[in-house]
């Protein structure tokens, strides 16, 4: 067994590998760029080496630097994590030449599976079901159009070397191909340094289901069940689960066995993932094989009890698998939510900046429910524009799917992140969605359920009432404390002697009678026959309130604002305040403030750099027309007109760096 390994990665995956290595008694070496000098993986590792400036192309993607670091520290093996050099044949080859073990598959397998076209041919030969498509190299847009028409629309344009949604486009007609092919080619070059793009049939109502495989160097190959990753947004996975709510035992077995056959065909070793697309009749087609540890591997670990990183390390060290296919038992249900630094209310644009507050839910195993959080950040860390915006993978495991979902909801409620925008409200909405709960998923789930984008969640009247009761507690507690200030004419004067209150949540009044009581408070809403009892030991120091309202568990984040409190629960945030009945009466006389009309402006939706302005002053524009392109986190974002109009002023120019909500254009 190795005594020291180097992790050629960063973020949560580097931290996750370090954890297992440490448990196995193996020393770890981290590498880092300038942007990561204070990163969590650097702190966790036994040693850390600086390998270059922030851009990945000048640090994490430089094989030379990594190999030099290995030599310098005397590590015997390299774990590549995912992304970066994890599926880079040249890197694996170099390691082999240098006599350094690669904790991953052999060079040939990476090579064969890394090329999407090559891998399809191999899969077909191994009798794995494949999607109809054209696997040759396409030389230009005209040829792409011809081939696409031949296959029949819709088709998918994909970078050969791609993954993770980059360089992928759906084309519904010829115009889409003409627009999308050059763009996909450009993205393929910038993301992977390889301009090859291929075309295949786009399966409708598809689910994304993948099989985890594990093989050793001695010819043993197993499949560890499936993961369903249908909840995707623009091909970026958001929620994953294992097992899939869709597969039956026979399909699972068939998919597993085909996956094993494919592995055998390339003498696969280590952990890998065979991705399938599954249609509504449970026909499945091979999509690609990922010859690395997958982001969503924790859900498989949770239902199988197998530590995949440990297995990868053992296999790389030449050990035989100690388990057989019969030993693999799927136990319970696991969910994973990817927590991204992005703003779900602004079309999921990246959000960078400082993590002013970051307190994930506690990891725990309690009453058959496991909460696991794989993270690479910490409170006070900086989310930079250089890398993937994923900051954590929150996982839950429970005996049944619904229990895992509920546990996820609770864990999300307690996930306290401030300073950047994040997708927790959105993931919480997915967890609450009836269709998600029924398991009726397709990869278009998000696009279908939120066609106009995400604008927040509605809470049920019952939940709102419970939040009103908690608001009462917050204000009663504060009222008692106000009575303890020094300098009173009569010591202990309290301003909460009145019992008739009006609690207001987002402008809706909940009149009632509220009084502090043992361990919390009692709130009798007008019209209710009996009081509801709030029990909590919350104080204003805690960001997360844990309470019960008539026995119902409530986990709510509380933010103090000057004149009210914000209560965040199940992905929704409401303004809460309590006033005396009289004050509420007078408040009712106050005019409502009308928010300023922002439709006359194009505001920058995220911090970024202006690439180009596509319009001129005085120009008439139609809804949907491109107005400007802003680059953020290496992605070019096209800002389009929301309605018809005329441009009256341009406030910025190409090359300007913009803040959120900065005015780009004004309309007449």
């Amino acid at each position: 067994m190795f005594t020291k390994i180097l992790i050629a990665n960063r973020g949560e995956i580097a931290c996750r590998v370090i954890k297992t290595a440490r448990r196995m008694g193996i020393k770890t070496v981290a590498v880092y760029s300038d942007a990561d000098a204070a990163a969590l993986h650097v702190k966790m590792a036994d040693e850390a080496l600086h390998i270059g400036p922030p851009p990945a192309a000048e640090s994490y993607l430089l094989a030379d630097r990594i190999i030099a670091a290995v030599k310098q520290t005397g590590a015997q093996a390299v774990h590549p994590g995912y992304g970066f050099l994890s599926e880079n044949t040249a890197f694996a080859e170099r390691l082999q030449k240098e006599g350094i073990a690669f904790i991953g598959p052999n060079v040939r397998a990476i090579q064969a599976m890394g090329d999407k076209i090559e891998s399809k041919k191999l899969a077909a030969a191994a009798k794995v079901n494949t999607v109809p498509g054209y696997l040759g190299v396409i030389k230009d847009t005209d040829e792409a159009v011809k081939i696409s028409s031949g296959i029949g629309y819709p088709v998918m344009l994909k970078a050969s070397a791609g993954g993770g949604g980059k360089g992928m486009r759906i084309a519904w007609n010829e115009a889409d191909v003409r627009e999308g092919f050059p763009a996909a080619t450009a993205e393929a070059i910038s993301s992977f340094g390889d301009d090859r793009v291929f075309v295949e049939k786009f399966v409708t109502e598809p689910r994304h289901i993948e099989i985890q495989v594990l093989a050793d160097k001695h010819g043993n190959t197993l499949y560890l069940g499936e993961r369903e990753c249908s909840i995707q947004r623009r091909h970026q996975k958001v929620v994953e689960e294992a097992p899939s709510p869709f597969l039956d035992e026979a399909t699972r077995k068939a998919m597993g066995e085909q996956s094993v056959a494919l592995c055998r065909a390339v003498n696969y070793e280590s952990a890998g993932t065979v991705e399938f697309i599954v249609d509504k009749d449970r026909n499945f087609y091979f999509l690609e094989m990922n010859t690395r540890l997958q982001v969503e591997h924790p859900v498989t670990e949770l239902i199988t009890g197998i530590d995949l990183v440990e297995q990868m390390i053992r296999v790389a060290a030449g050990e035989k698998l100690s388990i057989t296919q019969d030993d693999v038992k799927l136990n319970g249900w696991a969910m994973e939510s990817r927590v991204y630094a992005e703003d779900p209310f602004r079309n999921f644009l990246p959000s960078i900046g400082r993590l002013v507050r970051y307190q994930p839910p506690a990891e725990s195993v309690q009453d058959g429910v496991t909460v696991r959080n794989d993270t690479g950040v910490f409170e006070g860390a900086e989310i930079s524009m250089y890398y993937d915006p994923m900051i954590a993978k929150l996982c839950t495991h429970a005996p049944t799917r619904i229990e895992a979902i509920v546990a996820m909801n609770d864990a999300l409620d307690a996930f306290h992140i401030r300073g950047i925008q994040h997708n927790v409200p959105f993931v919480a909405a997915v967890m609450e969605h009836p269709r998600f709960r029924e398991g009726r998923l397709t990869t278009a789930f998000i696009a279908e359920e939120w066609p106009e984008g995400f604008h927040g969640t509605d809470l049920s009247p019952e939940v709102k009432r419970d939040l009103a009761a908690l608001t009462a507690f917050i204000y009663l507690q504060q009222g008692v404390r106000a009575g303890e200030i020094t300098g009173q004419i009569k010591r202990g004067y309290q301003n909460i002697r009145s019992r008739a209150w009006v609690i207001t949540l987002d402008g809706v009044n909940y009149p009632g009678d509220a009084v502090l009581a043992e361990g919390g408070c009692l709130v009798t809403f007008d019209g209710a026959s009996k009081p509801c009892r709030v029990i909590t030991n919350w104080t204003p120091v805690q960001p997360v309130m844990r309470a019960t309202v008539d026995g119902r568990k409530m986990i709510v984040q509380i933010d103090r604002q000057a004149s009210y409190r914000l209560l965040t629960h199940r992905g929704a945030t409401v303004k809460g305040i309590m006033r005396s009945e009289r004050a509420a009466q007078l408040f009712a006389l106050m005019p409502e403030k009308i928010a300023p009309d922002l439709s006359k402006f194009l505001l920058c939706p995220m911090p970024g750099l202006v690439v180009s302005i596509a319009v001129e002053v005085g120009q008439e524009i139609k809804a949907g027309e491109t107005l400007a392109i802003v680059e953020a986190m290496k992605m070019q974002n096209i800002l389009r007109a929301e309605s018809d109009g005329v441009v009256s002023a341009i406030k910025v120019k190409a090359g300007d760096s913009l803040a959120v909500d900065q005015v780009i254009l004004e309309f007449e």
């Binding site: 106000a482 303890e484 200030i485 300098g487 009173q488 007078l586």
Partner: protein
């Protein structure tokens, strides 16, 4: 029996102010009546009214026919969270709240009582100015109020809340009080109104553009804060009063907290970015050291390069002054200096310890600043800190450069506790500027200059040089900032320091 019945009837009449029609009119304009406002401002049932039956004595212009008990202002006392305050509230429903001699006498009476009894006074303004029918009696009434404002200044906190029109003579009483708050969209204040402006300067301007909350909180700095409506405004005044002592002989109030004084905030260790030119938000530091993250900001929208406001640390009220690196790199300019100077002097008047958070690259250069009198405006802040005898705790988080270092509550200005974070750099100027002056003859050689810059940075841009001389008492870890301040405040509670006797100092106004 008859007298008691009459009393009840008179009281009922007085409470009606200018009558139901005018009350409805007030509501229709989105405003509350004087008595409704006092109900919200004060603890329920605590208001005791004075001079309810006072009426004007004007006999001209048929005024004898028009009399309303109270004469356009409601005065009295009550409590806020059990602590006494004196109040007067202009009643817009009676003669538009205009000021008569009798009206002025009522205000003067509560001003006198507040001063004599050592309790704050809060005025709610919503009035049409002088009562023209009363002529010079009205003007004299204003003068009496002004005189009392000045005598009370620095003895008891005086707070003005503008909740409707406030023009002409009415503006100068608020202007001489400690804080002015406004209600957005329904209040405005100016010396001369839009009509006069139009006649004299031909400028076409609305009342809002001339003197609304949006102007006075951002451009003129007349107002210290603004809120959306009457109810929210009064709720915030209650919140503010809990930070202030009753008078200048009392210590600032203590309020228990659930927060522990030695709470550490590890994330503060990464607040200051590695790159010295990268901004960060000083408010994060304030919110992380304040009890329960509760901060009452003063002049939030004006001169944002400096932050001022009240917080509590371990229950103790403190005034916080902090440079804001997010705006103008935290430079001191004329506006920031004036804003902070006034705040520091308020704290010093009322025994509120001052916590100063320093990250200042210097004074803002340029003709605009120099022509605008930066020297004397900057001197105001310097003067205020020099003069202050309350406990002064200073934390240098990053830059403390040149004269601005001295100004920002440095050790030399009788700072009680001067701490620096390890990221602090205290010097006459930044490395580039310094090297170009000291090594002027090497300017032709970029390598030499680079080496000198590095030398300067390592030698001077750290907290050690100042600590070495005792100008910094201790270099502290950012995560322990709250604990250090809390400890310091405890130890400084009995601080006694007096300035030489004088009639008053001559601050460069």
């Amino acid at each position: 029996m008859d007298t008691i019945g009459k009393l009840e009837a008179k009281r009922l009449e007085a409470r009606q102010g200018g009558g139901q029609r005018r009350i409805d009119g007030q509501h229709a304009r989105g405003k509350l009546t004087a008595r409704e406002r006092l109900e919200l401002l004060l603890d329920p049932g605590s208001f005791e009214e004075f001079d309810m039956f006072v009426e004007h004595r004007c006999a001209d212009f048929g005024m004898t026919e028009q009399k309303f008990p109270g004469d356009g202002v409601v005065t009295g006392w009550g409590t806020i969270d059990g602590r006494i305050v004196y109040v007067f509230a202009k009643d817009f429903t009676v003669f538009g709240g205009s000021l008569s001699q009798a009206h002025a006498q009522k205000v003067c009476k509560v001003q006198d009582m507040a001063l004599r009894n050592g309790a704050p006074i809060i005025g709610l303004m919503d009035a049409g100015g002088a009562r023209i029918q009363e002529g010079v009696d009205s003007l004299g009434g204003y003068a009496e109020i002004f005189q009392r404002n000045v005598l009370a200044s620095g003895v008891i906190p005086q707070i003005s809340v503008i909740m409707g029109p406030c023009a002409g003579g009415d503006v100068y009483s608020p202007a001489m009080t400690d804080f002015i708050f406004m209600v957005r969209d329904t209040s405005y204040m100016f010396v001369t109104g839009p009509d006069v402006v139009k006649t004299v300067t031909q400028e076409d301007v609305s009342a809002e553009q001339l003197g609304g909350a949006s102007i006075h909180t951002t451009k003129s700095s007349i107002a210290d804060g603004a809120y959306d409506n009457d109810v929210e405004t009064l709720e915030q005044i209650r919140r503010l009063m809990d930070f202030l002592p009753a008078n200048n002989r009392e210590q600032a109030p203590l309020r228990p907290t659930w927060d522990i004084p030695d709470r550490i905030e590890i994330s503060l260790d990464t607040l200051v970015p590695d790159n010295a030119n990268k901004p960060y938000d000083m408010k994060e530091l304030i919110l992380k050291i304040a009890d329960e993250g509760d901060f009452f900001e003063i002049q939030e929208h004006f001169a944002k390069n400096i932050i001022t406001g009240f917080a509590r640390i371990d229950g103790q009220s403190v005034g916080i002054v902090g440079n804001q690196p997010m705006v103008l790199a935290g430079c001191l300019d004329s506006d920031a200096s004036r804003k902070a100077a006034r705040f520091v002097r308020f704290c010093d008047c009322f025994n509120i310890p001052i916590v100063t958070l320093v990250d200042v690259p210097g004074f803002l250069p340029g003709t605009a600043q120099e022509y605008g009198g930066l020297i004397k405006h900057g001197a105001k802040l310097l003067f205020a800190y020099c003069e202050a005898t309350v406990p002064k705790i200073t934390i240098i988080t990053r830059k403390a450069m040149g004269g601005a270092y001295v100004v920002m509550a440095s050790k030399h200005l009788r700072g009680d506790l001067n701490f620096a974070w390890p990221t602090a750099g205290i010097a006459v100027m930044g490395a580039k500027g310094a090297v170009e002056i000291i090594f002027r003859n090497e300017i032709g050689s970029p390598e030499k200059i680079a080496a000198r810059t590095e030398e300067y940075e390592s030698q001077f841009l750290n907290p050690f040089v100042a600590a070495n001389r005792g100008y910094i008492d201790e270099i502290i870890m950012p995560h322990s900032t709250r604990r250090r301040i809390a400890l310091g405040l405890q130890r400084l509670r009995n601080k006694k320091l007096e300035n030489p006797w004088k009639k008053h100092a001559n601050i460069p106004l």
